[in-house]
């Protein structure tokens, strides 16, 4: 009923049709070196960026965190699914660090795209104290418009661009890192 009423009202009231514009190229000022530009923007958003020359070395960094006593859920190691992790997520204090492989990064804003297939449990990247995203340098794209060409929204039920740790400036515009989500955010580039 309400649906018909709303749609009728729209069709009665809508203005003369305007054509959809064809996408145009939008230029950005700044660094031509995509990896550098990405790292700059990510740092600006509060991320720590670590550079490695191979995935093995990035993984060694993660093993070191475990040795330092952190409880780590590492989705590079456990790609088979969520079994085994679910009990962990009931106790928020137990998840010190979550490691997820990023699908692509965006140089203009330092954001990394992940979807449900990369972490199985939607709340994990938000619940953890320290989120680690592992990203191949070749997967960095210059801007959002190019990034969305590659993002497949229908691949899974949930996807998210993440740029840095959670933050707020709701009290007198003072930036505070660690609002409701992670307090630390590290990107391992290889």
């Amino acid at each position: 009923m309400s649906k018909a009423e709303i749609l009728n009202s729209i069709s009665k009231n809508k203005p003369t049709p305007v054509d959809l514009p064809a996408p145009r190229k939008i230029k950005i000022e700044g660094n031509k070196d995509l990896i550098r530009a990405f790292a700059d923007k990510a740092t600006g958003a509060g991320s720590q960026v670590e550079n490695f020359d191979s995935l093995d070395k990035a993984e060694a960094w993660i093993r070191q965190q475990e040795k330092n006593g952190k409880s780590v859920i590492d989705f590079l190691q456990h790609l088979e699914g969520k079994d085994g992790f679910l009990p962990l997520t009931d106790d928020t204090d137990k998840v010190d660090m979550v490691v997820i492989r990023g699908q692509l990064g965006v140089a203009e804003n330092g954001a990394v795209w992940i979807d449900e297939h990369d972490m199985f449990i939607r709340k994990l990247p938000f619940l953890t104290i320290h989120l680690v995203l592992v990203l191949e340098k070749a997967k960095i794209l210059p801007d959002l418009q190019k990034a969305y060409k590659q993002v497949d929204l229908e691949r899974s039920g949930f996807g998210v661009f993440i740029a840095g740790p959670s933050k707020t400036a709701d009290i007198e515009q003072a930036l505070v890192i660690g609002a409701h989500g992670p307090i630390e955010h590290t990107i391992l580039l290889y």
Partner: protein, 455 residues
Amino acid sequence: MKHARAAREFLSNGPRTEWHSQALWYVRQKRDVQKDEIRDWEDLREQASVIKEHTLSNLDQYLEEFETKALKNGIHVHWAVNAKEHNNIVLEILQQAGVRKLVKSKSMLTEECHLNPFLMDKGIDVIESDLGERIIQFADQDPSHIVLPAIHLKKEEVGKLFEKKLNTESGNYDPTYLTGAARKHLREHFVSAEVAMTGVNFAIAESGGFAVCTNEGNADMGVHHAKIHIASMGIEKVIPGKDQLAVFLRLLARSATGQPITTYTSHFQKPAEGKEIHLIIVDNGRSEHLGKDKFWRALKCIRCGACLNTCPVYRRSGGHSYGYTIPGPIGSILTPRVDLKQYSDLPFASSLCGSCTDVCPVKIEIHEQLYQWRQEVYEQKQLSGTKKLGLKVMGRVLARPRLYHRSGKFARKALKISPRFLIYNRMNPWGRSRDLPAPPKQSFQEWYRENRSKS
């Protein structure tokens, strides 16, 4: 004169007004730095503007396409003609689930619908989870800004509220400490949430999902813990596809808070296994607004708040002075269609300087619409008495050159010799906090005549 009266109260504390104005100007400056990084910023704005005009002029088709896809994705879609229907739908979902607590993330639409008081009346515990929204909920106030809801409060005031509500240390007003206390307090609510609610920044017709942008991660913390996710959107939030989404996302956070993107841009496509997503599509006067030839473009708004941050009147009168959910320049062109009589003064709460139009990421000609609404207010006979009289006299004088000259001569003399109370009295609200410049000795015409004959 409601806005003027409320603004006077806000202005009574000079240093505080200046503090408020500067806080917003700081956000405006951060926005400028970000927009300068995009060489083709104006092209990007133009694209965004035309995409919105295209979508709004085909809105019924896009909404139907969106609904079809969303249903296929397993999302429950509800339609609400007005606020009452919207609120009842939310209540019904809660009642059917047998849940008495709702964890909410920021949504201006639910503020517009007055959802919180409605639910609390029915015994539902409503927890706002955005820090700014939680603060003003504690303070029992309305948001004073659409992006920065507690921008009008000082940290000492927030600290005192938290002492009472969250048992924080007395006298500790450090924003990091206070945010930490809120984090701990809200985590308990997130983890125990059964139903969580969010707004919608963009609904994507081609894929039937929607995007929600936050910095705090509160939207995600709520909905991923809860069994049921309720999301509310105005009909104007739908866009064609992800190519267009990219254009808007490049503009939104840059314009809003001077960030290249918000921390989280979450895309909800399908409910997680064993969970539900309910989406409510709300009209509440928007479709009627779409039929207003001079004003429909106001519906292009993506709620970034840039026009508030730049507005000299908003910065010095505060969000509450507007008396409506959406304050500032954009609010002043959205409210008259809600109730022209009640909000007839808002189109006048502007200097028509045009700064709002310059910063709008979707190129709404805000100051021109403000001007048009003023005509509408006059035509609908909603102009206040003093204003009407003033305009009538002014109109007569300006239409008659000889009368104009005579009046000018008289005014120049009269202003010089009149005692102060004759000029600065209740009939001259302009002069309440300002002095007129000293009257010139002669008019421009007199000067011109004199000097032309000399040369």
